[in-house]
Amino acid sequence: MALLTFDTQHKPRQAYTSMAIVLVLLLIFPFFAAQFGNSWVRIIDIALLYIMLALGLNIVVGFAGLLDLGYIAFFAVGAYLVGLFSSPQFAALLESVIYYSPAIGEALVAFFGPEIQQNGIHLSLWAIVPLAALSAALCGALLGAPTLKLRGDYLAIVTLGFGEIIRIFMNNLNDPINFTNGPQGINMIDPIRIFGVSLAGEAGSNATVHIGSYAMPSVNAYYFLFLALVIASIFITGRLQHSRLGRAWVAIREDEIAAKAMGINTRNVKLLAFAMGASFGGVAGAMFGAFQGFVSPESFSLTESIAVLAMVVLGGIGHIPGVVLGGVLLAALPEVLRHVVDPAQQALFGKVIIEAEVLRQLLYGLALVLIMLVRPAGLWPSPNKEERPNAALARDDEEASTT
């Protein structure tokens, strides 16, 4: 990383040059990757979503030092929001309400009209994204409220529990009123449309997107959308980090009592961290739902929460370029390994001994343990010492002895 630096404060010229180089590389990347097949671009698309998640979680874990183990729940909130308001699912919901209680059902049908009863609600991207961000932020605030005045450990457990609860609800909220369609998940979610152009390609176009006279595969179109979102997220979280609020977060992370003494309203500031982190998850979830065209509870297991956490920890807690690196490594590497390790094992042992999926899990676990033990500031820690979490610095043995 010696050649590229993103430290805009100390070496602005070098930083902006490296950003420009990276941006150009990123812009031509899908055309290069598409040579090896669209599935590779697809992998990168998903990796970009993970990076967005990691950036959101970094606000909570990295800046504010609050361990959130149910982060994927906010992703789920976004994805199910799209599922409900941008697919035929709402029609099924109304139908089940009519079956459960005809009176309420009729009232709802009269309210929404026959069109929605037939086809469900189909909101556009411009409505969905703010809605997803808002509802995820609300969930985050609700979840944080009872625990934030307690110690961090409790927050970790409560968020873990919240992740499980969301999954139980996703699995069971199909009866008697069908919100989520249960374990089968919601199908036929509308693809994202930007100014009337469907990013999945029009029907019969063989998943090719036409913009004017120019055509490109659907996965490439999504790539550019997600890339734009990731860049926006990087920009927003970067600005947040250096804002008054960001400094308050870091102060709380380093020493909450001192921060309180300096006049920071710790509870509100922590709630804000929670809500803002969650809103990134919500938006990423909405994108995920529309990109896949399908959501089901399986995509939102505890493992995914931990995967996102591992990205933040591996790359560098609290350091945005580090988090992006962690996201790239942990989201793309397992897929790459799948294409390399499985054939290699076939060749060596005649059978696959460690499946790629298992390897992925091992990587996550090892990343969490080894990084904390060996390099607590992550693979790519912040160049500014004061921005690193104190895990990297001298350990105060005061905390262990105060019982």
């Binding site: 874990v61 409790y154 529990g161 033990l373 002895s401 019982t403």
Partner: protein
Amino acid sequence: METFIQQLLNGLVLGSMYALVALGYTMVYGVLNLINFAHGDVLMIGAMIGLTILQLLEAYVPGLPGYVQLALAILGAIPVTMLVNILIERIAYRRLRNAPRLAPLITAIGISILLQTFAMMIWGRSPLPFPQLLSSEPIMIGGAMISQTQVLLLVLAALAMGSLVLLVERTRMGRAMRAVAENPRVAGLMGIDTNRVIVATFAIGAALAAVAGVMWGANYASITFTMGVLPGLKAFCAAVLGGIGNIYGAMIGGLVLGIIEALGAGYIGDLTGGFLGSHYQDIFAFVVLILVLTLRPSGIMGERVADRA
């Protein structure tokens, strides 16, 4: 009324397993102020080892009575889980004892994932059937049924908890543990080998988890590599409910939580007019957790745990 007694019995059975696991959390928390996130997976390892021992017994010494087989499975699982938990302490926690709080939590999560992955590699992905060892003839109590396995479970849990109380209250090691829980540094100055006490705490917690794991398998007749996650979480809720750091609190919290869950699952359908069914059983523990944390963070028995971030 019959439903009530039945659910009460189910709750007691469930609760005694939670209590056994909760003790492991609460003891470690007592001496180290740390949540051993991997504790639920120690339970899973215990169940898996127990199953392997049962399979070996079946293959080499068939025809042993069920009670003997179960006893051997538990006795065999205990040293393995102890070793696992001691290794966890050694690898993931010891070096981070003075690090900021976030660090050991993160390694704990990592260890939990690693344990699950190793278990999946050794025992496979799909649920494994746990053999029915005791007679399936149920015992009737006031119109409610309880299986012989469950009776054994209650007896074992009572025995384990009783001996734990004796150990903590009556032995030298127990006194050392209480001293370390009170203040590790001063305990060290008084000539107590803090590390030995901590290792012993992890070992005892693991032994209790092994008992709970094997009996969990015997009771539910099926185990998987992810089976430890939910019981672990709920046992933690139980420990908080009872007052974390307090062993009597963990026992009471476990039983109370088990009963709340069983009664809740039994009656939620009637209470909500069929809107929510018994598959929402898993939610109760977290609702209890959130309520306890909001209303009385110190739990039933605990001292005041204020914000000590």
